[in-house]
Amino acid sequence: MHPALQGLLTIIIGVGGCVGYFYGSNQLLDKVICPPTGSNAGRNINRANIIRPWLFILPAILALGLYLAYPVFETFRLSITERLPRGESKFVGLDNYRQMFSEDKFWEALKNNILWLIVVPALSTAFGLLAAQLSDRVRWGNIAKSIIFMPMAISFVGAAVIWKLVYDTRPIEQDQIGALNALYLFFGGTEPNTWLTIPFWNNFFLMIVLVWIQTGFAMVILSAALRGIPEETIEAAIIDGANSFQIFFKIKVPQIAGTIVVVWTTITIIVLKVFDIVFAMTNGQWNTQVLANYMYAKLFTANDWGVGSASAMIIMLLVTPILIWNVRNARKEMR
């Protein structure tokens, strides 16, 4: 069958199935199982009201349980077993972890990931804050915001191509077509660099891509927060003779500190999952490996499910503090 037709059919089956399930199960409940008529009308209405929420939420619970919760436990199980032929597996304790810790590539990935975790959220938030503050003060601010926000819509792969062109290198005797090398030579560089192969610094050239994408997100959230600051506090500061910088750093920033933390943690999570950029631009060569790409290489190139799952658990471990913090905040808010 043609994929487009198959897609159309899936939409019909999927959507029809969902609607049919919700409609049918509610009808079943109201008309057959607990009809609100007859001698037990009151009891039946109460019963229906107890059951109904579960009808509404059941598909979501199934999907979430199967596609997100179960894999966490299964991945943990895989990380402490070894795959044997014929689909069997053997418990090996922490052997996979031990093997992973003995690999240089893993430590390289971990070190790089920590570097990413420091640099990307910090730069994105800083640029986002700068863009938000500046664009709120000029008349063409909305256009500026749109442009800075735009990379959010571009795929990591698309961004990788865009930036590969910026980093492109041609032999010295030719015209440079990469903007970075052209600038470098213009400002007195002696010969063009292949930027993505310079160890350590190439990490930063990859990080810039993510900063470029995430700044728009930070800007949008922080801009809304900045506008939410009560005007009295700023008026008071102006009357007291504060200058623009003092107003910004001592009045505005402290009042949006909570939002800054939210932006920071959200970007942190995105950084932990970053895969496409490294995969497309260097695939972890020249000391640019990161955990997510290391994991992918282990799982699907080396076909080593044990070590791959172990490295996935490391990513999970790094996410966990943020997970707990988020859940606690959400619960606090609900009370």
Partner: protein, 382 residues
Amino acid sequence: MSNIAGTKSSLTWAVHLSLAALVLLWLFPTAGLLISSFRTADQISTSGWWKSLVSSEQNQTLRTAPGSEQIELDGKFFVEGNLFEGQKEAMISAWGTSSKAIADYKPGDVAILKKGGTVTVAANGDYRLENTEALKGKRGIRIFTTATRPPEFTISNYGHVLFEESASDSMAKAFFNTMTVTIPATIIPILIAAFAAYALAWMDFPGRALMIAAVVGLLVVPLQLALIPLLKFHNQIGIGKGYVGVWLAHTGFGLPMAIYLLRNYMVGLPRDIIENARVDGATEFQIFNKIIIPLSFPALASFAIFQFLWTWNDLLVSLVFLIDSSGETTVMTKRIVEMLGTRGGNWEILATSAFVSIAVPLLVFFSMQKYLVRGLLAGSVK
């Protein structure tokens, strides 16, 4: 805000300038790719894209027609023609007949050739060779020119990438595959999430708070953990790698965000409307259909855009759950990554392909930006 009471900040100019710098910096890389996609392979590899916007000055070595095309007139031999034959027009500012002195003559000057005879070149490239003896040699005389060319763009790259039949280059198929992945993967989670979000927002049942907490928790679980277990699961139930698998996976991964966003929005709907409806005897299903869904349209739109962008731009999920060894179901992101590997130098193909895949999200972005911003504001965990 800081300009109250007519105190115009002295920093206004600094603000304008720094914002302009920031905007240009952010626009520059994308502009480079977009412009490159409208240039020919030769142009891309010989000069930076920023030079294509203005008339560029180029040095070229060209040849006159060979001696076999000479005309004899009154005992003299002539060869006439245009140096730029078969090329785009250009304006010559200087020329020469030796590689050591490529700019000795102005257009219209007459140069005396070493082999005897004279040559003259006009600004538009017309030349005239003159000699008293017959010209020999199979090849013409070399002329070194310095010429300015006007900007020149082409859409042939797009034709090549989209309509060329050869399977290795065709983005058209990948485009439709991406679409096939994206549309069901956007619609199905919305439906499931809307019902769940309504239950979590407006129905009372034991374990509700726990479930909301679970959704917030699952929001940050990296999907990397799900790859192997789910691939195993898909193989066990017999759907293997394919569209069904990728649709299910996207649905599962998109749900926490969908439920969280929609629940946050629905909780904010006015209590009166819902309770009045209940008092009037509406069933929960009717309330959901006739009140909640229409009122939640902005939140539904926000999530739809998110999920669309996310599934359209996705690489990892498609790599794992969709693309098998036959390559028939490849998506655009995967094609581009392959091209980066095998045709890293073919910028005209790469740039054009990348732009084909970027165009749709950008269109969605610019037309529905309002909803995207709203969704971001509601979706970031406070």
